[in-house]
């Protein structure tokens, strides 16, 4: 019987992190890029909790609470920014965000 150890959770988190990074780099829709970023942050959370369990140390879990709080604040601000942008441009495609050269 294969036991699920903290290491497996760390591997899951590494996979989520990679999916998130690739999502940010290849998708063109601002909302989906934002979702990929949230995926990265959740990868961080899973990793921290797995490590916290392995190390038997609470600091990692405290860290996670703060990451969740900050991610919520960022989501609120970020969606607001995207809406303000959408009102002016009627698009959320990153290729059309180009008044200034990237």
């Amino acid at each position: 019987m294969l036991e699920i150890t903290p290491l497996h959770y760390s591997l899951l988190s590494a996979a989520l992190f990679m999916i998130g990074v690739i999502g940010v780099l290849v998708r063109r829709n601002v909302i989906i890029i934002f979702m990929s970023i949230e995926l990265i942050l959740n990868a961080v959370n899973i990793n921290l909790i797995a490590l916290s369990d392995r190390l038997q140390d609470l600091a990692g879990q405290v860290f996670v609470v703060f990451v969740i709080a900050v991610a919520a604040a960022e989501a609120a601000v970020g969606l607001g920014i995207i809406i303000a942008f959408y009102r002016n441009k009627e698009t959320v495609n990153i290729d059309e965000i180009q008044i200034m050269r990237w």
Binding site: S10, S13, F17, G20, V21, V24, V30, I33, F34, I37, I40, L41, A43, V44, N47, L48, L51, R54, L55, D57, A59, G60, V62, F63, F66, V67, V70, A73, E74, V77, G78, G80, I81, I82, A84, F85, N88, K89, I94, I97, I99, M100, R101, W102
Partner: protein
């Protein structure tokens, strides 16, 4: 280190508490009082002055508070002073700009104060969690500030770009922090340094290091993580750009110095290589890209990228002298950079956006004093004696030589020469081109005060730099233990 929180913690947190209270009062005052504009401005200036006084009151203190989460030491005090002085200058250059753009000032000042609060925590945090919370308090405020001109498409665009890349870089930085936590079993920088003192290496540790450097590289806009900077700097409201390029950079450098020199002295040989490459590429790309810009804000953005490269030399040196040189440079940098942006903000009138190089044409004929001020800022940014920029460069150069970084010093000097070309172009436009367009340029008293402070700062520390050197040296001495363990490893 005390086990929990004590009453003393609140005493040492006085600057942060004053700033938070003041920021909330700005919102209240903005709603309740008539003549809101002046009430909010006055309240903001009062809060910043009070906070600054409280920070300076802690000069010479060296202690760790809040169960080892925050350090109140010379280093923190120095960077807090840098941040508060730049916030003051930014606020002074804001009112006339906000009036032309016709936006409400209340929330603007509130957000500036919130960003400042985040920077204070970045300066004094000695725990990964505190540092990250400070970083985010600052970054989220800046995401909103960059898009503060809601009907303006360029401002929207700046905000979206800054938000996406800022959040992405945060994710990378946090993943690096989580790996570091896994390797060391603690989030305090002192604990991390202790855990890595044996000099063990692993693949995870290398990965953590790379992710940390990349995440922080985004925040200081080091090449190749600089793509967001020119666009955000161009699109954001000019005073916000100014604060972004100075305050955010200074606080991020404080965080870099803390994490790498205080937290990871055991890996100095590894991150030195990474930062060496980053510094060399950042200076070169920043300066070469700045040569062809026709928009002043964009040019200053690339110039600020190049300056981040210069300051990284102090980090690469990783000695007390290197740290002191980086601090000296950041201090003189706030005056010249904010001064230059103040002149650009001044050019914004009802009919002129004022951020193109040609908008400077004939400035000498219209506002001779402003033109002379701009000349001083450009000379200082270029590093010509007797300005403060020269002293800053001199210190970085000698720190590089002292640490044996001869090639980096050579690249540094070559880059300084290249940079003179585009700073000189600004002067050419002000003096030699005399077509005059747009309405009369008005200089508000607040703006004039900001310009005078910036000019005095740019000249004073060039002519009489000893005070600054002494302060930076004292502040850098806290790194004494970290640096000596570095030397032992080499």
């Amino acid at each position: 280190m005390p086990a929990g929180f004590t009453v003393d913690d609140f005493y040492y947190l006085l600057p942060e508490i004053l700033l938070t209270g003041g920021a909330l009062l700005v919102l209240v005052v903005d709603i309740l009082l008539p003549r809101r504009e002046w009430a909010a401005l006055g309240m903001t200036l009062f809060t910043l002055t009070l906070t600054g006084a409280a920070v300076i009151g802690f000069t010479g203190v060296d202690t760790t508070i809040s169960a080892g989460l925050l350090a109140i030491d010379g280093f923190a005090t120095f960077f807090k002073t840098v941040v508060i002085v730049s916030a003051l200058l930014t606020v002074l250059m804001s009112p006339s700009y906000l009036r032309v753009e016709a936006v409400r000032p209340g929330e603007y000042y509130f957000l500036i104060l919130c960003a400042t609060l985040g920077m204070l925590f970045m300066a004094s945090g000695v725990d990964l969690i505190t540092l990250f919370i400070g970083l985010e308090t600052m970054a989220v405020s800046f995401y909103i500030l960059a898009g503060y001109l809601k009907p303006n498409q360029r401002s929207n665009e700046a905000s979206v770009k800054y938000f996406l890349l800022g959040a992405f870089s945060l994710g990378i930085l946090l993943y690096g922090m989580s790996l570091l936590y896994g390797e060391t079993g603690t989030t305090t920088l002192a604990g991390i340094a202790e855990a890595l003192a044996g000099g063990e290496r692993s693949l995870t540790l290398a990965l953590a290091l790379i992710l940390l450097v990349a995440g922080m590289g985004f925040k200081i806009a080091a090449v190749p993580f600089h793509m967001w900077a020119p666009d955000v700097y161009e699109g954001a409201p000019t005073p916000v750009t100014a604060y972004l390029s100075v305050g955010s950079k200074a606080a991020s450098f404080a965080m870099i110095l803390r994490i790498f020199i205080e937290g990871l002295p055991g890996l100095v040989a590894d991150w030195q290589v990474l930062f060496w490459a980053l510094a060399a590429v950042t200076m070169t790309v920043g300066n070469i890209a700045a040569l062809t810009q026709s928009n002043i804000k964009r040019m200053l953005a690339y110039s600020s990228i190049a300056h981040a490269g210069y300051i990284l030399i102090g980090v690469v040196a990783a000695t007390e002298r290197g740290v002191a040189a980086a601090m000296v440079y950041l201090w003189v940098y706030i005056f010249m950079q904010l001064g230059a942006f103040a002149v650009v903000a001044m050019l914004r009138r009802k009919d002129v956006i004022g951020d193109e190089l040609k908008d400077l044409s004939g400035l000498y004929l219209r506002k001779p004093l402003a033109a002379v001020a701009m000349l001083i800022f450009m000379l200082s940014l270029g590093g010509i004696p007797p300005t403060a920029g020269f002293m800053g460069k001199l210190w970085l150069f000698s720190a590089a030589i002292e640490s044996g970084l001869v090639w980096l010093a050579v690249i540094f000097v070559v880059n300084s020469v290249i940079s003179l070309y585009y700073y000189y172009r600004v002067v050419v436009f002000m003096w030699l081109k005399d077509e005059i367009a747009g309405s009369e340029i008005a200089v508000s008293p607040a703006m004039a005060t900001a310009l005078v402070i910036a000019v005095v700062g740019s000249l004073l520390f060039g002519v009489y730099p000893q005070v600054l050197f002494d302060h930076a040296q004292v502040a850098a001495d806290m790194f004494g233990s970290a640096v000596s363990s570095t030397a032992a490893l080499q």
